[in-house]
Symmetry: C2
Subunit: 276 residues, 2 copies
Amino acid sequence: MSSSQTQTYAQRAAKHPNPSAKALLDTIERKKSNLCVSVDVTKGDEFLNVIDVVGPYVCLIKTHVDIIEDFETSLIEKLQALSAKHDFLIFEDRKFADIGNTVALQYSSGVHKIATWSHITNAHPVPGPSIVTGLASVGKPLGRGLLLLAEMSTKGSLATGTYTEEAVRMARAHSDFVIGFIAQRRMDGVGASAAQSVVDEDFLILTPGVGLDSRGDSMGQQYRTPKEVVTESGCDVIIVGRGIYGTGNGIDIQAVQTQAERYRAAGWAAYLDRIG
Amino acid sequence: MSSSQTQTYAQRAAKHPNPSAKALLDTIERKKSNLCVSVDVTKGDEFLNVIDVVGPYVCLIKTHVDIIEDFETSLIEKLQALSAKHDFLIFEDRKFADIGNTVALQYSSGVHKIATWSHITNAHPVPGPSIVTGLASVGKPLGRGLLLLAEMSTKGSLATGTYTEEAVRMARAHSDFVIGFIAQRRMDGVGASAAQSVVDEDFLILTPGVGLDSRGDSMGQQYRTPKEVVTESGCDVIIVGRGIYGTGNGIDIQAVQTQAERYRAAGWAAYLDRIG
């Protein structure tokens, strides 16, 4: 078992060089929550309402601000106020996937100005290392962290084999800014040469496609349990979306709280099992 | 040589089943231009100014509306007016790269509402076929067309080998909506089984990284000439950005016109050479 996998979140926080990774690990430990809720709604009010309800149970809120129809700058101010109120970090799930010059502009500019408020964001490694360099030119001075999509949880994903290995090599070459992966398992040592020492590397693994009830949806998403991803596969953060706040309009506050606490408890129990 | 590669744009337009592909091929023939200009600027006024100047020389304008700081709905109305005035199609280079449910929302919703105005958009095949299904659920009823990124022109791109083959298979399985590829060469027959008849398939190849002067930039972009991409590699549309409107602030109208006409002429000459 790898070294980071058997350490506590607090131990890892104490020595992580990236400010956003350190803050996330500290938050996880403080709140005893490795739960990230993905808030995929299209109305600003509902977005804020869901976050205000699940906020106490999460270490991280995952956003897709580009699906919010009535997005405006004040929405980000309200999101930041909720982040302070409930003590969570923000992860815009932008999945950058362009050349360095373009992603630098997409990250810093436009209507959404992601770099100014999102502690963590992510990118596909498919364009090659220039995507990391381009994003780092914007995010590193701000203390941000980047996750690479080393794997995907969808059927027929092409992020496998050599692709995954290349993603990890790319991260290793930029480990001051790339803090981990969107993946289904630990990546320690993946793609490393025999001569490389990887014993001290600590990449966070954030895992989508986690569910306690359903096994999949009609659009290719597949689900695994917290025990499968955290205890068995060694992942660090479980990402849950519609499993917590449902698919209907409006939210039933008590039902959402119950689900959020249920996933928080399941994720934390799976972690305690892992570190023994 | 493949059949679509030796046919004229007009011959291909006459039998293409997708409305956006047909419109693009017709526009190319009518304007004798296989030039697409990529307008990567962050101010709405400059965006419209560049498009108004290069409009007469292009078949297609490629946009990144998510880098425009002062984006508002009226900008799209002005873009559509320019599209009618100068007779070009619009291609939002969004590089969708998420699961089906998310890309459907990103395509239809949010501040940008891409599906309502962009004739053509593109996606990475990395999530697997659900990305095509998700986007098709929004774009197909509107007559839109999708390009898959089968290859990228950046150094260290992971879109090679099996990845590229899978991209083409995915396109072939959804050829009523996937109209072609962002790639550096033709994809006819790539990844097809021996039993499959691919003689009638007509995927458009749109090729970025085209330059007449520079060979690359500091952020990993690499350049090839129109002759290399159109005549030798059989691509259909050349995509040119900063090579036409420069990297400074403000635009020198006459210099931009000169460059746009230079690239239009070079792209068209390369096509005439190809069809003999």
